[in-house]
């Protein structure tokens, strides 16, 4: 029950603005530490791959961003559902602040995937199943963002884009499996380089650290974006006036 009370308080825009403001420096600091450790371990400590040499090291960026691209979409759709069902303004703010961050992760996954593809496949772009899925995911993100930007009324924009995000999340697995199936149909069973069935511990540890770092990075940026969004949304409230006068 106390957790419930905490969330209830947290969901009030003013409390959120305050608590989030206090949390951001901590999140940012931990993100920075984990990123440095993860990159150091990944780029310098982990041994080179016996097949791919040094070029495989891009997975320490590519794999966490691909994970994040899906994770952020889930967060966005869940927050949108919470906002629509229980009419919680803050949930909509979280959902819509997540969209551009998720799109950036997706874009990063695509760019690193294509950079990796050049030495691996000899081409910048190959219609690999996972890269294609990632590309479609980027389209889904862009759709949500474009719809959100298209409405002048913030409340309508949040809810309409939220519905689209939920429709998208139902489609993500369908799209993923249809693309996988399509890929095997047209190219035969390709060697999926993104699978690492017997990954060495010295590679796995930096990968996990990088994933946690990316998640915390997302949390930090999300809180920052959501904070400004809340400030704009509540600009008519008294506490915003007081806050702006202080600064």
């Amino acid at each position: 029950m106390r957790i419930f009370q905490f969330f209830h308080r947290f969901a009030s825009p003013r409390e959120f603005f305050r608590i989030a403001g206090a949390m951001i420096p901590w999140f940012a600091a931990v993100t920075l530490v984990l990123l440095s450790v993860g990159l150091y371990l990944g780029l310098f400590v982990a041994p080179p791959d016996y097949q791919q040499g040094e070029s495989y090291r891009i997975i320490f960026i590519h794999v966490p961003s691909a994970w994040m691209s899906l994770f952020v979409y889930m967060v966005m759709a869940s927050a949108a559902a919470i906002g629509l069902i229980w009419r919680i303004k803050l949930a909509h703010v979280i959902a819509m602040s997540s969209a551009p961050i998720g799109a950036s992760f997706t874009f990063l996954a695509l760019v690193t995937g294509s950079l990796w593809g050049k030495p691996m496949w000899g081409a910048w772009w190959v219609w690999d199943a996972r890269l294609t899925s990632e590309l479609i995911l980027l389209f889904l993100y862009l759709g949500v963002m474009a719809l959100y930007a298209a409405f002048e009324e913030r409340r309508t924009a949040q809810r309409a884009a939220g519905i689209l995000a939920i429709v998208g999340v139902i489609n993500v697995p369908i799209i993923h499996y249809s693309v996988m199936w399509w890929n095997t149909l047209h190219q035969g069973p390709t060697v999926t380089k993104f699978d690492a069935p017997s990954i060495h511990l010295s590679m796995l540890i930096p990968l996990l650290i990088m994933s946690v770092a990316f998640t915390l990075f997302y949390a930090t940026v999300l809180l920052m974006r959501a904070r400004w969004e809340v400030l704009e949304q509540e600009q008519r409230s008294k506490w915003v006036d007081e806050y702006l006068e202080q600064t």
Partner: protein, 229 residues
């Protein structure tokens, strides 16, 4: 309970018949998606080659993508005129479940676009050197696939109907969601040319239709209530 089922059915048929009647009074608009379908398909031999082997190779994709785009361009008609003349707010305020009304409208839309596209597709397929004995598969995929296109499309239109320039945005929202249908539809047609078994794809298309039939009307109604505010 029976009474409300009955009245929901009345609402469905009333809206369905109204929209069919309206479509029939706009013959030219009824023809437009079909004309688009025909023109786009005929662009490929002009732009590519008239070699029948090349044409046969691209035929499944060309037919499916053209049908998909023709459907997409006709989607606006589901809600646009109702929005403009105020009928849509009357439907939203109706005592009947909005999802039933939406289903009636989508059914009418499919009958006036997807169904007609399916009916003329054999003629276009033949022009792309498509073997006549495989036309059945093409028709089946379109019959199972185009209703799903209308259903998913209705969500997109409901989300963008309140915007002055929703056209391109609609394409951005809807096309990614169309990809699975395109993959299964086109590949079934493609594999049928090589006399492979395509039952799997047909089942998957049917499954997608069942899924969108149950979920899309609710998403569309929710979207309408939001965008009509």
């Amino acid at each position: 309970m029976e009474g409300s089922t009955n009245s929901a059915l009345t609402a469905f048929t009333t809206i369905f018949r109204r929209d069919i009647k309206l479509a029939l009074r706009h013959r030219s608009e009824l023809i437009n998606p079909l004309a688009f379908f025909v023109i786009v398909v005929s662009l490929f031999p002009l732009g590519l080659s008239t070699d029948s082997r090349t044409l046969l190779q691209i035929a499944p994709a060309v037919l499916w993508i053209s049908a998909l785009l023709a459907t997409m361009l006709s989607l606006e008609s589901i809600f646009r005129s109702d929005y403009d003349d105020g009928s849509l707010e009357q439907l939203v305020l109706s005592e009947h479940p909005l999802s039933v009304i939406v289903l009636g409208k989508v059914a009418a839309h499919w009958c006036t676009t997807g169904l007609l596209l399916t009916l003329i597709s054999p003629a276009l397929a033949i022009s792309l050197a498509f073997p006549p004995q495989n036309l059945g598969v093409l028709i089946w995929t379109l019959l199972l696939g185009t209703p799903t296109l209308s259903l998913i499309g209705s969500i997109g239109v409901a989300l963008t109907v309140g915007l002055r320039r929703g056209g391109i945005l609609l394409a951005l929202l809807i096309l990614p969601l169309y990809i699975p249908i395109l993959i299964f539809g086109a590949s079934a047609v493609d594999m049928s040319i090589d006399d492979l078994d395509v039952a799997g794809q047909l089942y998957l298309l049917a499954a997608l239709l069942a899924l969108s039939l149950t979920l899309a009307p609710f998403a569309t109604s929710a979207a309408l209530r939001v965008t009509l505010e």
